[in-house]
């Protein structure tokens, strides 16, 4: 048992100190009927080499992880992760520490979180950001719950239909137990792919609690976030934006600049591997006036007894371990190490690099769209897009199959989530794609068009 250091003589000595004879004497008080049936019927333990062999064999069967040109996105994005990100998060000092309850022994973690909070406020142009959430979808759900705490009397939760389907589904689950809420979907414009402003206008009244919009949205479109926020505010509601592709915030006008009250999103694009969908990291930025209703942990700057700058968890009277049933959220463990990866990544990209990267994504995606268009493959929507766009195809699944035969993962068919978009394929292009791939994609799709 290579992880357990006790030798037989250690065990004997420890038992003797305790005054017991056998290890099982220590559990003799557990009801016998439970003990009798407790044996875990799994294989015997494996050597490290055999564990590696076993898991590697499973990994090798994921043929979609390599060898394909990929245009998969839809909420998780393929970006280059600099080696320095991995070098930092592999440090056991970060990876094997706990939530920094003991500030004096956790200045590394707390300062890094403080830097993460700062970076998120800079990216979103919000006044305050928390230490991280699980992911973008649950952060969006927590944002709606936060809005409800701020304005408990307003019943209508408006979700853009072009908000990511999984975000909408998560919000619905989180709200399912709460009485008196009315979830309304605001349709998108069939031509532009942006949320229909006139539809929001129709429900923008004193019953509106909040409006949640994808930025960019699930169809790839850069929403008119400012106009949506303004309309929401006119009704006295709170504007919430949800960004699944964090790189976009390096270029697009920041949610805070556009009047958004709570800006959430997914930080997977900031240095985290695809890892079949998790763990990623949720982020949340908000206004200072709403601070007390914000969920999740916060790190603050303070001093030590000798007057030196120091950092610690703070404002924890909002949290479950103090407030119990009156807490703002039940969140305890969050995604701290992923937030650290994002902090390192954003520090490496830096002020100029993040914007250049975002621009490069735009350039390549538009180059791809142009190549496809030249081959007669049209986009489904006319609105502006960042690094993802929707194609109009007679038979998206046939196109996917044809592309797969040519070792291309062409995108995500939207028909599963949107019955009205059975003709649509969502294609994502990042800096990981090269210009010469686009003609191959076009040829594969054109084959079945």
């Amino acid at each position: 048992m290579r992880f357990m250091p006790q030798t037989e003589s250690d065990v004997a000595a420890m038992l003797e100190t305790i005054g017991a004879r056998h290890l099982d004497d220590l559990i003799a008080h557990v009801p016998a009927s439970l003990r009798a049936s407790a044996t875990i019927k799994l294989e015997r333990g494996l050597s490290e080499a055999d564990v590696v062999r076993e898991i590697s064999a499973l990994a090798a069967r994921n043929t979609g992880a390599s060898g394909f040109l990929s245009f998969l996105g839809a909420g998780y994005y393929r970006h280059y992760v600099p080696a320095a990100v991995r070098a930092v998060i592999a440090r056991a000092e970060f990876a094997t520490s706990y939530t920094p309850y003991q500030a004096e022994a956790s200045q590394g973690t707390t300062q890094a979180i403080f830097e993460f909070q700062t970076l998120i406020t800079q990216l979103t142009a919000m006044e305050v950001a928390n230490a991280s959430m699980y992911d973008g979808a649950s952060a969006a759900a927590e944002a709606v719950l936060m809005a409800r705490r701020l304005m408990p009397k307003r019943p209508v939760v408006a979700l853009s239909r072009a908000l990511w389907p999984e975000y909408r589904a998560t919000i619905r689950t989180y709200l399912s137990a709460l009485d008196g809420l009315d979830i309304v979907e605001v349709p998108f414009d069939d031509a532009t792919g942006a949320t229909d402003l006139s539809a929001l206008d129709r429900i923008a009244n004193d019953r509106l609690l909040c409006m949640v919009t994808g930025y960019p949205n699930a169809l790839g479109i850069i929403e008119p976030l400012g106009a949506l926020a303004q309309m929401t505010h006119r009704a006295g509601g709170l504007a919430i934006s949800a960004t699944a592709e964090g790189i976009a915030l390096g270029l697009l006008r920041a949610p805070g600049e556009l009047g958004v009250d709570i800006a959430v999103g997914e930080g997977q694009s900031f240095g985290l591997p695809l890892q079949f969908g998790g763990p990623g990291v949720g982020f949340m930025g908000a206004r200072l006036t709403h601070l007390r209703q914000m969920p999740g942990r916060l790190v603050g700057q303070t001093r030590d007894r000798d007057g030196r700058r120091a950092f610690c968890l703070t404002l924890n009277t909002r949290e479950q371990h103090i407030r119990r049933e009156r807490a703002t959220s039940n969140i305890c463990t969050n995604h701290s190490l992923c937030a650290l990866a994002a902090t390192v990544y954003l520090s490496l990209m830096g002020r100029a690099g993040l914007r250049e990267l975002a621009e490069r994504n735009v350039e390549l995606a538009h180059q791809a769209a142009a190549v496809l268009e030249a081959a007669g493959i049209r986009r489904r929507f006319s609105g502006p897009f960042f690094n993802e766009f929707t194609l109009k195809l007679a038979n998206p699944s046939a196109a996917l199959e044809a592309a797969e035969r040519r070792q291309i993962l062409a995108g995500v068919a939207l028909g599963n989530d949107y019955s009205e978009l059975s003709d649509a394929l969502l294609v994502s292009v990042t800096e990981m794609n090269r210009g010469d791939e686009f003609s191959r994609l076009a040829a594969a799709i054109a084959e079945v068009r």
């Binding site: 992880f3 564990v51 056991a92 520490s97 649950s138 079949f276 968890l313 650290l340």
Partner: protein, 508 residues
């Protein structure tokens, strides 16, 4: 004094003879303070000639002007900054970390390598299932292993953390009762519970009723019978409870709940005491959530990511969250037809990277090894309890499982608080136990040594605790002024809350 970056019990000489000793700095500068305009740590491959810039393509009116204040450093500067920060941390790999209820056991390093295999780390969640069969099989095997370990019928790996697992479980309880045409408003929670339990209840729309544990520190079925009614949806029980005691009446408690149609929700936070010792399913639990970052060794990461699978009995299986794995002739796929499911709690499938690590851990230990892990964890806790008894008596007379909760009289005898004892431990290079929890024990020290620490480490912890006890009586100022050997002295947490500074701002 220690300079930033030196931690632990190392005797840092205050009269160092090093001629050009670097003066202790006031911490590590913030990354923003290290910036210099125009510096960069990343280069993109060059843009094709004549290509329009992204901002022009989408229109400058959609674009921000700048990222004011964003870092501007070179790659080596960034790396050095974060490596220096890393040196300011205590961590399980470096120190004894007996934090009660957190199970800070060794995290096998090979598991990090396995999660990073290109076939696992590079797999996009939208990959067609027939090209991801290895991942799906791993998930299926993990579900089966956890069902066997817990004695439950079905497992969902979907929740992102223990607390999300709690919410998932409670929403399933609610959906179950609804389906039977019943609306139940209340959930019973013992006074010893973790704070996440009542917080999860509120999110799931339940009102909390508090059950009192008895003088011996456990729950009596009689108390549950007194509280349970047709309006009670479930009871959440942590077993062993937060005093580290196995709930001896757990089977009766389950029966008392089931008689009135209520569910037993078992909080599996303390599963590290139960592996091969007692299965939640056999205790009568209808639901149990597990914290893979506790019993199943995935790194805590300074506060996550974790993973919080839920395991249920058959009658709750239809309510498990989406997506749900199923096996057909062609292989594994996700089941889209789940009309009674509570829905999804997050994006995509689960925290796959953590599940890979936990599965590798289960493979490494095997059934026997898991059983031995719990037994040795229980041995270590009882050993510490016994050895510390003369100075720090146990808060309970009941046998301890994988952790022990101790009390002390130093507050009265020497005016030295539990917090001060904890801070003094830091000077010895030991992470303190959980303190002031459970709330039912004044000044509690909750110690969970885990099975992966040697007897020598446990003995040195006892030595440190005895010395602190001695100091508290004879040299209390030393304890009160701790820590002295860390990058910072006592941090003013009250000040942080009074005047919140939650981000760096550029000086005007």
């Amino acid at each position: 004094m220690a300079s930033a970056g030196r931690i632990g019990p190392v005797a840092v000489s205050e009269t160092s003879s090093t001629p050009h000793r670097i003066e202790p700095v006031a911490g590590v500068p913030l990354i923003f303070e290290l910036s210099s305009e125009g510096r960069r740590a990343t280069d993109l491959s060059p843009r094709a000639a004549g290509e329009r810039r992204g901002a022009e393509i989408i229109g400058v009116e959609l674009c921000r002007e700048d990222l004011p204040g964003f870092p501007e450093l070179s790659e080596p500067q960034v790396l050095r900054h974060f490596l220096r920060l890393s040196q300011l941390n205590f961590a399980q790999a470096l120190q004894f970390y007996p934090l009660g209820s957190c199970t800070m056991k060794y995290n096998p390093v090979v598991n990090d390598e396995l999660a990073a295999l290109p076939g696992l780390a590079g797999l996009h969640p939208a990959t067609p299932v027939h090209l991801a069969q290895g991942a799906l099989e791993l998930l299926a095997r993990m579900e089966a292993a956890l069902a066997e370990i817990t004695g439950m019928d079905a497992v969902s790996l979907h929740p992102a953390a223990g607390a999300q697992g709690e919410l998932t479980g409670l929403l399933m309880v609610r959906a179950y009762h609804r389906k039977r045409g019943e609306v139940r408003h209340k959930v019973i929670i013992p006074d010893t519970s973790h704070g996440t339990n009542p917080a999860s209840c509120t999110l799931a729309g339940f009102e909390v009723i508090v059950a009192k544990s008895n003088r011996r520190g456990y729950l009596e079925a009689a108390e549950v019978r007194r509280l349970v009614s047709d309006d009670v949806a479930a009871m959440m029980v942590t077993n062993p409870n937060t005093l580290g005691i196995f709930e001896p009446e757990i089977q009766d408690i389950a029966a008392a709940l089931h008689e009135r149609g209520a569910m037993l929700y078992l909080d599996g936070a303390n599963m590290n005491a139960l592996l091969g010792v007692a299965k939640p399913g056999h205790m009568g639990a209808d639901i149990v959530q597990l914290n893979l970052h506790k019993s199943f060794s995935t790194p805590h990461g300074g506060g996550g990511p974790g993973a919080g699978p839920v395991a249920v009995k058959k009658h709750l299986e239809p309510f498990l969250p989406m997506p749900r794995l199923k096996h057909s002739g062609a292989g594994y796929e996700f089941d889209a037809e789940r009309p009674d499911s509570i829905g999804r709690m997050r994006s995509f499938h689960n925290n796959f990277g953590m599940i890979v690590r936990a599965y590798a851990y289960i493979l490494a230990l095997g059934g026997d090894g898991l059983g031995m892990a719990s037994r040795l964890a229980i041995l270590a806790a009882n050993y510490l309890r016994k050895r510390l008894q003369p100075h720090f008596p146990s808060a309970t007379g009941e046998p301890s499982m994988h952790e022990c909760v101790l009390s002390h009289e130093l507050e009265k005898r020497a005016d030295v608080s539990t917090l001060e004892i904890a801070k003094r431990l830091l000077d010895f290079g030991i992470h303190p136990p959980t303190i002031y929890f459970p709330l039912v024990v004044p000044g509690a020290l909750m110690i969970e040594p885990t099975e992966t620490e040697s007897k020598e480490i446990l003995d040195s912890f006892v030595d440190a605790m005895e010395r602190i006890y001695d100091e508290a009586l004879n040299d209390p100022e030393r304890v009160k002024n701790a820590p002295q050997n860390l990058p910072v002295s006592r941090v003013d947490e009250a000040g942080a809350a009074r005047h919140p500074i939650l981000r760096w701002e550029k000086k005007a």
